[in-house]
């Protein structure tokens, strides 16, 4: 099969799989996350850095090797944001929007600036730029912000359709609600990516994306690359028109390998087969696009520093603004350092409790998800988020361990509670507590809620159902997730005073 056809089909398959990963439901998310996310650069890098050496995080090493051998294959067939752009470019060519590209000079200042700002801020303990610019994170937020509601709408249409036949195979367990902070994040990126790809191909990948820049440092030296045979070349310019990365310059018959995103479309474009994907020619001159050796050594040293010195000392978030983070994250501080903001946990959470934080916890947590008990609660029988998290920010917990993980503690404000303040039965919280951390104490006709914070897991079911506004029963965040004490059970309640003697009691 031709390289460009292979690339197109593989990348289409990967994009489809990413769609299933984010939108396909619990079983698909759980099983696809491992294989797909293994090769994703930033999640794998974070996992490698924090649990070095991690066999489960070899993806980042493999991608680096792959790039060293074959160029930016990651950008062509593995990166979901890259494939999304390729899909837009494909559509624009098919519908003749702007099918022709030109060679553009490397925007090296901008490109390097984004890379170094991301790297340095990470070294000083802030994942903010990484969360902002990681292509998987951008893809994830765009998918959750736009594709999830689209799918929800499609489900609603299907429900109406099936109802015509009086059959109801689809459940809509948790309603989708729009989120202003998420739209504020995802919409500008979606617009930028769309406009850039339609107008200038992979401009984002070659001038903003820090992963693209890092891989670009390496792909300059790749063993296999796009080469132009100067003897055969007739300078017709077709390869340049076809190149979506703007990296082919016809007059010099040269290719900027740091920007080539390995789409291989230039191969069939050449009428005289002067363009090939082959081994590096020893005497090839790359002066037009070469980078100084000093910069390269600096980049390599920086990369090494990143991997081996673990500079994430991290500043702990101030006490007032500590969010509740999912079970498996072991605490908001650790979570903050390791989360890549890919939003896969947000997409997969079946009860929709994991969601965008907004500004509630400061600018740095703005991009990362938190447990939001207004949106939902954490299902006692679920441990999906840890199973799908690609960076290990949420570590996978076996269900029995998850049921004893305390992500927060229940706190009841008796002045706000309907039952305590107004002597009126409510009991919404007691009904839903899976461990009986909230339980009832009977006084006459009233059943009063009382709490046992030690056995609370912080699932937030009580807060979620509390009918008062603001809620009288809330989960307060745990700085470090401890093990909760085991659930407590009451003996038979006082009202069952007449034991069953085998006869009917009436």
């Amino acid at each position: 099969m031709r390289l460009w056809t292979l690339r197109a089909w593989v990348s289409a398959a990967v994009l489809l799989l990413f769609g299933f990963l984010y939108l396909g439901g619990e079983k698909l998310s759980g099983s696809l996350s491992g294989p797909l996310m293994f090769f994703q650069f930033v999640p794998s890098l974070l996992r490698q850095v924090f649990s070095f050496p991690a066999l489960s995080a070899m993806g980042v090493i493999l991608v680096l090797l792959l790039t060293l051998l074959f160029g930016r294959i990651y950008c062509a067939v593995l990166c979901p944001l890259g494939i999304l752009q390729d899909a837009l470019i494909f559509l624009s060519r098919r519908f003749h929007i702007l099918p022709v590209h030109r060679h553009v000079p490397e925007l090296s200042t901008i490109r390097n600036a984004f890379f170094w700002v991301t790297f340095l801020s990470l070294s000083f303990g802030s994942p903010f730029f990484l969360n902002l610019l990681d292509p998987v994170a951008i893809f994830g937020k765009i998918t959750v912000c736009f594709m999830e509601p689209a799918l929800y709408g499609a489900k609603k249409l299907l429900i109406v359709f099936f109802a015509l036949f009086d059959t109801y195979p689809i459940h809509l367990s948790y309603p989708w609600k729009p989120s202003v902070p998420l739209v504020a994040l995802a919409l500008p990126f979606l617009l930028a990516i769309t406009i850039f790809s339609l107008l200038a191909g992979r401009l984002y990948c070659n001038s903003v994306c820090p992963v693209g820049t890092l891989l670009g440092f390496i792909s300059r030296f790749s063993l296999f690359r796009i080469e132009v045979d100067r003897e055969k070349c007739i300078a017709c310019g077709r390869c340049e028109e076809r190149c979506r990365a703007g990296c082919m310059a016809v007059p010099e018959r040269a290719v900027d390998h740091s920007r080539c995103t390995a789409c291989f479309d230039c191969l069939p474009a050449c009428p005289v087969s002067a363009v090939r994907f082959g081994m590096k020619r020893p005497k090839a001159k790359r002066r037009a696009f070469s980078i100084s050796r000093r910069k390269l050594v600096g980049a390599a040293a920086g990369g090494g520093l990143l991997l081996f010195t673990r500079p994430f000392a991290g500043r702990a978030a101030p006490e007032k603004s500590v969010p509740v983070t999912p079970p498996g994250s072991k605490g908001p501080d650790r979570f903050r350092r390791m989360c890549t903001a890919c939003y896969l946990c947000v997409a997969s959470c079946p009860t929709k409790v994991i969601g965008p934080a907004g500004f509630a916890f400061g600018i740095e947590a703005f991009l990362q998800p938190v447990m939001d008990f207004n949106r939902g609660y954490c299902d006692y029988e679920c441990n999906l988020c840890g199973r799908v998290c690609p960076s290990g920010a949420i570590a996978p917990l076996p269900l029995e361990k998850k049921k004893r993980t305390q992500i927060g503690r229940v706190a009841l404000d008796k002045k706000l509670c309907i039952t305590h303040a107004k002597k009126q039965n409510c009991g919404a919280c007691m009904e839903v507590c899976p461990t009986h951390a909230v339980y009832s104490v009977i006084e006459g006709k009233i059943l009063y809620p009382e709490t046992r914070p030690d056995i609370c897991t912080g699932c937030g079911a009580c807060q979620h159902v509390c009918p008062t506004h603001p809620e009288s029963i809330v989960v307060t965040a745990g700085r470090r997730h401890m093990e909760s004490k085991p659930p407590v059970y009451e003996k038979a309640p006082a009202i069952a005073e007449k034991p069953d003697d085998g006869e009917f009691p009436f």
């Binding site: 109801y168 367990s173 309603p175 299902d379 919404a428 009918p467 659930p487 038979a492 009436f506």
Partner: protein, 310 residues
């Protein structure tokens, strides 16, 4: 037309048939052993209590004592069977209605000529998991029912005449549109109200059950029964959660009582269930209020009860 008038008419017209049914019912058994029964004289009973068998034989005995399923379902009618499918728990936990019982009811409705039998509950947990893990999805569908998930669009605003607090709510259209409404709760201890049975089970047909909690739980539960009283209430007391209900009880909290109660009057059903549990109906506030406000009758001493031990 009130339930009281319906009952009197039925009793008058079917005295003779009831005599025959009573005699036959006494000999009814599935496993060959002698069934014992007692009742307060001729006529269709207000309450039937059956014990000591599997759900299907219990159901058969109870329905026979009431005149058979044909008393409740006529050919061509649509039936709503409303079990408790509130929780994502498996059948052995007794947190939801026994699936075998639901299937038995559905099957008999289909045999009685029902055009459609619908089953749904507005679960407290994730709907798809509750439906499946409770076993009710599989059992009811095999028996011929249509399982209906809950969509907001299917809930219609209604006013409840005579209600003290719950003057209006959004109720599932099946409650308003179905010809026959059969309520099939499971008897359990409940942290918020002491007990959950037939009246509390109807919290699962409204969209916003949370409103009840915030505005006077017991009175709202009683109020809702004024809207549309189920034609029949069948209480599943096969596995009764005696403590730590409604959701996370231990194995040792579950008593295998192998009992079933059937009554047209929802308050009667609850009162009888309270006695089965071991308490006085007076102590359960929503039962007391419903009786006081003449929504139904909790005074079992006034009623005709048929007791069957299989």
């Amino acid at each position: 037309m009130s339930d009281c008038q319906k009952m009197k008419r039925r009793t008058f017209l079917k005295k003779g048939l009831a005599l025959g049914v009573t005699a036959g019912g006494a000999l009814l058994s599935w496993d060959g052993s002698e069934a014992t029964a007692s009742d307060d004289g001729p006529g269709v009973p207000d309450l039937v209590a059956v014990k000591n068998a599997e759900p299907d034989p219990l159901l058969e005995a109870a329905l026979s004592a009431l005149g058979g399923i044909a008393q409740f379902v006529k050919p061509g009618q649509t039936v709503l069977v409303k079990p408790n499918i509130g929780w994502n728990r498996s059948p052995e936990t007794g947190a939801n209605t026994n699936p075998a019982l639901v299937a038995g009811i559905v099957r008999r409705c289909v045999l009685a000529g029902a055009k459609k039998v619908y089953v749904f509950d507005n679960s407290c947990g994730p709907g798809d998991k509750c439906y499946r893990n409770s076993g009710i999805h599989g059992a009811a569908r095999s028996a011929g029912a249509v399982m209906v998930p809950c969509y907001r669009k299917d809930f219609v605003e209604v006013r409840i005449p005579g209600a003290k607090i719950l003057k209006k709510t959004a109720v599932h259209r099946l409650v308003m549109d179905s010809d026959v409404f059969i309520n099939v709760p499971v008897l359990k201890h409940h942290m918020s109200t002491h007990l959950t049975v037939a009246m509390k089970n109807l919290m699962g047909v409204v969209w916003d059950r949370g409103w009840y909690h915030g505005n006077g739980l017991d009175q709202c539960i009683a109020d809702f029964c004024r809207l549309r009283k189920p034609n029949l209430n069948i209480v599943d007391a096969y596995r009764v959660t005696m403590a730590n209900g409604p959701q996370y009880a231990r194995k040792e909290d579950i008593a295998l009582k192998r009992t079933l109660l059937a009554a047209r009057d929802i308050v009667t059903a609850d009162a009888a269930a309270a006695r089965i549990f071991g308490t006085d109906p007076e102590r359960i506030e929503y039962i007391r209020l419903a009786h006081l406000q003449q929504i139904g009758n909790m005074d079992l001493s006034e009623l005709k009860i048929r007791k069957i031990t299989l």
